[in-house]
């Protein structure tokens, strides 16, 4: 509960209309897209500009009230679940595209802009913003920056981090700072822009961002390669890249995933094969044609049973949309879906797929695997039921083994979903004590009172448990 004093002060900043602490309003901001996490905030506040954000932070810093900045709540690491209560900050008023600069190829936006709205606005001008998380129809750019979101085009074009070149941010003490700018080069001091991207709201509140744009590729082609052998599909991934081709998209879907996605999308996906690679290349027509031909050859050498090339852009779009729905479609199978985000070096993808299958077998679970194979980033997703404690124990053990295997192969516990509250207890597995201490030092320098999204990234204590974190 906020004290009346804090409440009055917050209302005097944003007006009554933009402050809500009714039970229902608090409830609907008590969760995000992460299963098994729910916790009520004390209030929901919607600032209208950077100055108001600064005033709010000063109050919260003074009174030690936690602050949780929230976009559309689609993250998958409990990054915006207010696990320690406090104030949820919404950016529904700060949702304007401020400028599209066609000379510098940049766009400057407020954090509440919906990712797809941004993409549509610049594509009208023949420009391209590659990061395309599956939730882009509703995710906000502020959320993408805080989580350093990836997407289907990450293999060739990188992730959100690679496109953020300038930020306006409010620090917990209320200071408003600007980092970077519309600059191709800038080595003036520490690179705070990169530090803030992916900081999950634990260091500052981002209030404006300048993003780098690139020219729209002239053409693109989409293909499916079908396999009756999982390892063959996974081997093709490494082999394509070893052949010095970097496709835009190189996605892997196993049979279990294909079945649920087809059940939802009904676009005629093959469900009688063990795995599919969804591959896309863009660029000048002759390059795209040459690459697609070469990729097809590689896939055939690796025993692909069939190669299908999308005949139209509509068909290609349907394939991409279907792929983006994969995670939620798995929810058709069981009441609870628990997904992981383990990432390994590309060359190890076949080993990782093999390990996931063995672990699934060992613990007798339903695990669907899909993901950005070209990035070495897989999303093994378990369809289970949180009410079945015995099964949840097995899920727990299976994911612990998947994590261990990923790290053993030189990988990481999360490739693109973030640490949040969900993976905080395992961060140490990847970073070791010293790594955590270094990061903790940064956190304390920016946020000595620990008001910025507390309970995220850094766990109170490092637990061994993967799934049942509470």
């Amino acid at each position: 509960m906020l004290s009346n004093e804090v409440k009055d002060k917050l209302i005097s900043i944003v007006t009554k209309e933009n402050f809500d602490d009714s039970k229902i309003e608090r409830l609907v901001y008590s969760y995000d897209a992460t299963p098994n996490f729910q916790s009520m905030p004390d209030a929901v506040v919607s600032p209208r500009n950077t100055e108001e954000v600064s005033e709010i932070l000063k109050i919260c810093n003074q009174y030690g009230v936690p602050i949780v900045p929230r976009g559309s709540g689609t993250n998958l690491c409990a990054g915006t679940c207010p696990t320690e209560g406090g104030v949820v900050l919404l950016f529904k008023h700060m949702n304007k595209i401020l400028e599209i600069d066609e000379e510098n190829l940049t766009i400057t936006v407020q954090p509440g802009v919906i990712t797809l709205d941004l993409i549509n606005a610049i594509e009208e001008k023949g420009l391209f913003y590659p990061p395309d998380p599956s939730s882009m129809k509703i995710s906000t750019i502020g959320g993408n920056i805080n989580e350093n979101s990836g997407g289907l085009r990450g293999l060739k074009y990188g992730v959100t981090r690679d496109y953020v070149i300038g930020l306006e941010a409010v620090l917990p003490n209320g200071d408003i700072i600007r980092t970077g700018g519309k600059l191709a080069k800038d080595v003036a001091g520490y690179d705070l822009t990169r530090l803030f991207v992916g900081s999950e709201g634990t260091l500052c509140v981002i209030t404006e961002a300048t993003l780098k744009l690139i020219p729209m590729p002239e053409t693109r082609k989409t293909m499916l390669a079908l396999y009756q052998d999982l390892s063959a599909a996974a081997r093709s991934v490494s082999k394509i890249i070893a052949n010095k081709i970097i496709p835009t998209t190189l996605e892997f879907l196993d049979q279990a995933t294909l079945k649920v996605v087809e059940d939802y999308a009904q676009i005629g996906l093959p469900t009688d094969v063990q795995a599919v690679l969804l591959i896309e290349q863009d660029g000048p027509a002759e390059v795209v044609d040459r690459d697609i031909k070469k990729i097809a050859e590689v896939c055939k050498q690796e025993n692909a049973v069939s190669i299908q090339i999308a005949a139209t852009e509509e068909e290609a779009m349907a394939l991409r949309t279907a792929r983006r729905a994969a995670l939620s479609a798995i929810a058709r199978l069981a009441p609870t879906t628990i997904l992981e985000d383990a990432t390994v070096p590309r060359s190890e993808i076949a080993n990782m797929v093999k390990a996931i299958n063995e672990i699934t077998e060992k613990y007798q679970l339903t695990i669907c695997t899909f993901g950005h194979a070209g990035d070495g980033n897989l999303h093994p997703t378990c369809a289970t039921d949180a009410r079945n404690h015995e099964e949840m124990e097995r899920v727990e053990k299976a994911f612990a083994e998947i994590f261990e295997k990923a790290i053993e192969l030189g990988g990481t516990i999360t490739g693109e979903h973030g640490v949040g509250a969900m993976k905080a207890p395992y961060l140490e597995w990847k970073l070791k004590k010293e790594g955590i201490a270094a990061m903790m030092g940064i956190k304390q320098a920016f946020d000595p009172n620990n008001i910025m999204n507390p309970g995220k990234v850094f766990a109170k204590d490092s637990k061994k448990r993967v799934v049942m974190t509470r």
Binding site: S22, K23, I24, E25, L27, V28, Y29, S30, Y31, D32, A33, T34, P35, M40, S72, G73, T74, L90, K92, I114, L116, S135, K137, I138, S139, V261, D263, Y264, A325, A326, L327, S328, A329, A331, R332, P335, T336, T337, D385, A386
Partner: protein, 440 residues
């Protein structure tokens, strides 16, 4: 106001009656958010989104929150357009959850006396009785023809009504006479080589206020080679009851309809109102707790087909010459036709095959117009926000004819045209009436 005691009863029933698996099926991915009109128009308020409403229902079941006034308000403001369902990768049946929740609240809440009287009159006294529907619409006809309408408009008496009701009065169709409404066919032959025997679900409002549209429907079916039976024993589909938390009445109506249609030997049961059709195809869910009726409901629902689907299926648009004077036309989806009956391409195929007209797709034609049953009367403010947005998109097409496939949407479009001061320049029309016009 709901009293604390009522809240307790509602909470208890939520625990007993809400389908927990369905609630858990929502994995909160948020894919539904961009399609929800109330989420967008409320300024991205999660409490007015499908994900938020499901989270609230679950929280009431779990005892995290009480079903307070804010909770009720959020459910009331939902249009029930079900645009969230086709985009839900997990396949959550939001409409079913909403209907159950509304039924629980309604059955455990004591309405004020005037509200009780109105509800009883409408749900029990009027819609289930076709003869009373005729009388009611007959009175409207008397009002329109006797000169009272002219008088009422001139004296400014209508100014006493809320603004959109007064406008609504202007856009109601010229209704048929009592005699015409009583004299309805029960059997019609195919007018070309017979391809199907179909039964026609004539609907309560469609067979009175919109009788002309029913006539057009039957004419098109006959031309398409369908022999038609129109069983007299059929009644109101019960959608209005089901959506308003009167589930028991809806079940009774459903049973009557299933019985009326099951022994006719028809290949299909044809509807021309998306709102009714969507409720009819859900009869098996409505009667899910009654094994015998459920089975009969499944057989019934499998035969339900919208008029535009059957016309496309029998290639009506290829067999019959369709032509109209040059004009731009556009189509506004009926939410329930699109999202529940999954009919979206057939109406467009038919419209695009009319010679002489230019079909222009409207931006966000799949977004609710705000009619939503009686929503435009009980939630008039939000409804008009939706309608104004719709009219911006409609005007951008430069169409002079807006085509719809449901009576509620049709009235709302006409209301929009009137509000924009475009009457005479733009018209709203049911797809079958336009097709019938194109046949001539």
């Amino acid at each position: 106001m709901t009293t604390l005691l009522e809240q307790e009863k509602i909470q208890q029933q939520f625990k007993e009656r809400m389908n927990e698996d369905e609630l858990l099926n929502c994995m909160r991915c948020g894919f539904c958010l961009p399609t929800c009109p109330t989420y967008i128009e409320s300024g991205y308020k999660e409490s007015h989104s499908p994900r938020g409403r499901i989270a609230m229902m679950k929280a009431v079941v779990d005892g995290m929150v009480e079903p307070d006034a804010d909770f009720e308000r959020s459910l009331e403001l939902c249009l029930g357009c079900r645009a969230c369902e086709p985009v839900c990768p997990s396949g959550v049946n939001y409409g079913h959850l909403l209907e159950e929740a509304r039924d629980i609240i309604n059955q455990n809440k004591k309405h004020s006396l005037p509200v009780r009287v109105v509800r009883k009159t409408v749900f029990e006294g009027l819609f289930p009785h076709q003869n009373r529907m005729r009388t009611m619409v007959g009175l409207l006809g008397f009002y329109q023809r006797s000169g009272i309408q002219t008088l009422a408009r001139k004296t400014g008496y209508l100014g006493l009504l809320p603004e959109n009701l007064a406008t609504m009065e202007k856009v109601l169709p010229k209704v048929p006479t009592m005699k015409e409404m009583k004299n309805r066919p029960e059997h019609l032959p195919a007018l070309s080589e017979k391809v199907h025997k179909v039964a026609f679900f004539s609907g309560c409002l469609m067979d009175t206020m919109f009788m002309k549209t029913n006539d057009s429907t039957m004419k098109l079916l006959q031309l398409a080679g369908c022999e038609i039976v129109i069983p007299k024993e059929q009644t109101c589909c019960g959608a209005l009851h089901g959506h308003s938390g009167e589930k028991d009445s809806a079940k009774e109506l459903a049973k009557k309809n299933i019985a009326a249609f099951e022994d006719l030997g028809a290949d299909f049961i044809i509807t021309n109102a998306g709102g009714c059709g969507a409720f009819l195809v859900d009869y098996d869910h409505l009667l899910k707790d009654d094994p015998v009726w459920k089975q009969r409901a499944v057989a019934f629902k499998e035969k339900i087909k919208d008029i535009s689907e059957i016309l496309v299926a029998v290639s009506f648009h290829k067999k019959v010459k369709l032509e109209l004077p040059p004009q731009v036309i556009t189509y506004q989806d009926s939410c329930h036709l699109r999202n529940v009956m999954k009919t979206a391409s057939a109406p467009r195929t038919l419209l695009e095959s009319i010679k002489g007209v230019q079909y222009q797709e409207m931006k966000e034609a799949d977004r609710c117009c705000g009619s939503a049953g009686i929503y435009n009367i009980v939630e008039s403010e939000m409804s008009m926000v939706m309608l104004d947005y719709k009219m911006v998109q409609a005007k951008a097409t430069h169409a002079t004819t807006i085509v719809t496939a449901n009576p509620g949407c049709l009235l709302q479009m006409q209301l929009g045209i009137e509000r924009e001061g475009l009457s005479g320049k733009m018209r709203g029309v049911h797809i079958v009436d336009l097709l019938a016009e194109a046949v001539k």
